[in-house]
């Protein structure tokens, strides 16, 4: 049922764009030259912007006839506004951003994504002071090191102590609809700490109603400095900003998002719907270049990662020291100083179909938006599915992947089986609290959480 809908949309898109009116679906047409050759893409200084940097440095964009300028943005809001007002043609975005923009939470604009940029890659770091107080609550292994994953249960007594003393327990995340916000909330709530509700229908978008821990926004690169200044006691952010805290000796990462939800979808590549309609070939060609970059990043069991880290450590990309970026990018993660552990899948760019835009990934974000009140009212399961299909565009991905297969730049077994793929992952089990997620049944999923809004509940 999803596929007929999809094909119809693809047909309409191509029909609109082509003056000849040849309403052939994008998937079967010979891929034409890009309509727009000079493009500007935005990014935030995080290691998971790597596919864009690699597509540029390895000439994948140029192979598609695209001349791309890559610009670092100050924060996620500036980046999103840039894409909406056309200053940027596309950008490295938080998965929640295109969804929230299309839904109208925050700035309303139709943003789509044909390409999911990576899996995992975030961590939660607390300051040294909090870590010392958490430590007694964490079970130890034989060698004296703490047992991972560390649950927020260990943090709960600390938060309660601060609350009793009348001190607000502040934590940082990067954006209201960021993966980090939902991950931090998920982790806190799984340990019985209430992260607070949003009530946009009442104009309350601070997200601190009923909260035990008060979450607020800080741009990723400024996280370590804000923690050091004592404004926040902990934060959830992407790399290299957790490892930076270890190197600077100002904080300790307690948990990675890989442990909160194994292989969770992280960033996406966002463009406006208008852009995709006006420049269909360009959209497909961008996706092609990004898929090739992602393949390069994961090739031969991460063999290219050291080279990628070298590129990312240049000041025009992430700019942090080689060692800091390499820590997580090359398959290890340093928790406490010296406690370096193997996390081979900390950053996944292509394996496990990481780049395919699954509808179920979009729906997970929507369920969390509902759980924390960003979506203030109940919605039907169909509403969730329609919203996901509006934003996530596997049709463009498929066109790009199939043309890569045709050009012998990739093989069919590297991608999902397009003839049978419905865009929903199998029910996913690897959550820190053991709750199973089935993208087909969002409302049932929302009902499973002890902390969070339930069906029919409105603040």
């Amino acid at each position: 049922m999803k596929w007929t809908q999809l094909f119809r949309r693809a047909a309409i898109t191509v029909g609109l764009a082509s003056t000849l009116g040849l309403a052939t679906p994008a998937t079967s047409a010979e891929l034409g030259y890009p309509e727009k050759e000079e493009l500007t893409f935005g990014f935030i200084k995080l290691t998971d912007m790597a596919p864009i940097a690699i597509a540029y440095e390895k000439g994948f964009f140029e192979d598609e006839g695209l001349y791309v300028t890559i610009e670092a943005q100050a924060n996620w809001k500036v980046l999103l506004d840039g894409v909406i007002d056309g200053r940027l043609d596309g950008a490295h975005m938080l998965a929640g951003q295109p969804i929230a923009a299309t839904m109208g939470f925050g700035t309303k604009a139709e943003i789509i994504t044909p390409f999911s940029m990576d899996l995992n890659g975030n961590g939660i770091t607390v300051s040294n002071e909090i870590w010392e107080q958490m430590k007694p609550n964490i079970p130890k292994m034989d060698n004296g090191l703490p047992v991972h994953p560390i649950k927020a249960d260990a943090l709960k007594p600390v938060v309660e102590k601060y609350k009793a003393a009348g001190k607000p327990f502040n934590m940082g995340m990067v954006f209201p609809v960021s993966t980090h916000n939902y991950e931090l909330r998920y982790w806190l709530a799984a340990g019985g700490i209430h992260p607070g509700y949003y009530a946009p229908h009442k104009g309350d978008i601070s997200g601190q109603i009923d909260a035990d821990a008060l979450l607020s926004v800080t741009p990723p690169p400024q996280m370590p400095a804000t923690l050091e200044a004592g404004t926040i006691y902990g934060y959830c952010v992407g790399e290299p900003w957790n490892q930076q805290a270890v190197f600077k000796g100002i904080g300790v990462p307690v948990v990675t998002d890989y442990e909160i939800w194994k292989d969770n979808p992280e960033k996406v590549f966002g463009i406006t719907k208008t852009f995709a309609e006006k420049y269909p070939n360009t959209a497909i060609r961008i996706t092609r270049a990004l898929i090739r970059a992602a393949m390069w990043l994961d090739e031969n069991n991460n063999a290219n990662r050291p080279e990628a880290v070298k590129i990312l450590s240049r000041s025009n990309y992430v700019g942090a020291d080689y060692e800091v970026i390499a820590n997580s990018m090359t398959g290890t993660f340093e928790y406490e100083k010296g406690d370096k552990r193997e996390v081979p899948d900390f950053n996944v760019f292509f394996r496990y179909h990481a780049t395919y835009p699954y509808y179920s990934d979009a729906i997970w974000y929507l369920t969390q938006m509902r759980r924390w009140g960003q979506i203030s009212e109940d919605k039907s399961d169909d509403w969730y599915k329609e919203m996901a299909a509006k934003v996530y565009r596997p049709d463009i991905y498929r066109a790009a992947a199939e043309s890569l297969i045709k050009d012998k730049l990739a093989s069919a077994d590297q991608f999902p089986d397009f003839s049978s793929e419905d865009g929903y992952r199998e029910p996913q089990t690897h959550f820190i609290d053991g709750i199973v997620y089935n993208g087909q049944k969002p409302n049932e999923y929302i009902g499973k959480f002890p902390i969070g809004l339930k069906a029919g509940q409105k603040l």
């Binding site: 006839g65 791309v68 200053r87 050091e228 000041s315 700019g319 020291d321 800091v324």
Partner: protein, 331 residues
């Protein structure tokens, strides 16, 4: 020194040694003393730097900064090489496409790589000069008008007094929004970010020039004004022959003040609005938080200072050239 020159009795050599002495004194004054000052500063700097531990490592001393100057220059060279390769690849690609698709109109696109430190210096210089010249074009006529007419002066004065102390950072959001609203060409001649910085610079360096010009014009000697009256000069001639020449020293003093303000404002504006230039370079490095970041920022600080100094000296030379009243020029 004096004892040795006293022992010589011959008048000629006495004179010569006096000359020598003068030369020696001025050498001390203009070379040795400043050099010692700089050396002492460098020593103090490297001594204190050793003792400041930041979370990004030690505060950079002179040696680390010097090293970064080299690294920045090398980066620039490498970027130039990459740009050349980029153009080469582009030509080949254009030729290939032309062979396949004869209707295609090949176009050479600008290098898409990141601006280097040296590029950022030129961007900042161009922006500050454009903003400054725009301010000159507005402020001097306005200053002359308010200087000539007491009524106009009292009408405009409150506005000037209120806007004069406003920081550029307050103007910036307004400028950004207005520029994005009004400047919507699809193929813009100059980038929006350039306009934002330029207009912010203009707004901030307008006022010292207006005030100085106005004071200069209002203070023209009554004799000169009387001459003009006797000769029955037309208002335009009056401005051209009497007002302008008479107030040139004050106008240039205002311009020099303004250019100093402009340079300071620009760096702040670039930093806050992420507009290309030295300010953005500093902010980017701060965000990177690498172990070289502080040394690179320090390198930028020195360059900003040197350029500010050179701009001021250039204005001073211009002022000397244009002004008849050499006494009004202060260093």
């Amino acid at each position: 020194m004096t004892s040795s020159s006293l022992s010589i009795s011959k008048p000629a050599s006495w004179k010569l040694s006096l000359l020598d002495n003068n030369l020696f004194n001025s050498a001390i004054r203009y070379v040795a003393v400043p050099l010692t000052g700089v050396l002492v500063f460098l020593l103090l700097w490297s001594a204190t730097a050793q003792n400041i531990d930041t979370s990004l490592g030690k505060f950079p001393g002179p040696a680390a900064v010097w090293e970064q100057f080299g690294a920045l220059y090398q980066e620039h060279e490498r970027s130039r090489e990459k740009a050349a390769a980029f153009y080469e690849r582009q030509e080949i690609r254009n030729a290939e496409r032309l062979a396949e698709d004869p209707g295609y109109q090949p176009k050479i696109r600008d290098y898409t790589g990141k601006e280097t430190f040296i590029d950022q210096i030129f961007t900042s210089l161009i922006t500050v000069m454009s903003g400054f010249l725009l301010a000159v074009a507005i402020a001097i006529p306005l200053g002359i008008a308010t200087g000539l007419s007491r009524t106009l002066s009292s009408a405009i004065n409150p506005i000037i007094q209120i806007f004069k102390p406003v920081s550029p950072l307050a103007w910036l959001p307004l400028v950004t929004m207005v520029v994005s609203a009004l400047y919507t060409s699809t193929d813009p001649l100059v980038a929006k970010s350039f306009l934002n910085s330029m207009i912010t610079v203009t707004l901030c360096c307008l006022w010292p020039m207006v005030i100085n010009t106005s004071v200069g014009v209002a203070g023209i000697e009554s004799d000169l004004v009387n001459v003009s009256k006797v000769l029955r000069l037309s208002p335009l001639k009056h401005v051209q022959k009497i007002v302008l020449p008479a107030s040139v020293p004050m106008i240039f003093t205002g311009m020099r003040l303004s250019l100093g303000v402009a340079w300071m404002v620009l760096i702040a504006a670039e930093m806050l609005a992420q507009n290309p230039g030295l300010g953005k370079f500093v902010w980017d490095e701060f965000q990177n938080g690498s172990s070289d970041s502080l040394a690179r920022i320090m390198a930028a600080v020195i360059v900003i200072g040197v350029i500010g100094f050179l701009l001021d000296r250039a204005m001073l030379q211009l002022q000397k050239l244009a002004s008849w009243d050499k006494d009004s020029i202060t260093h």
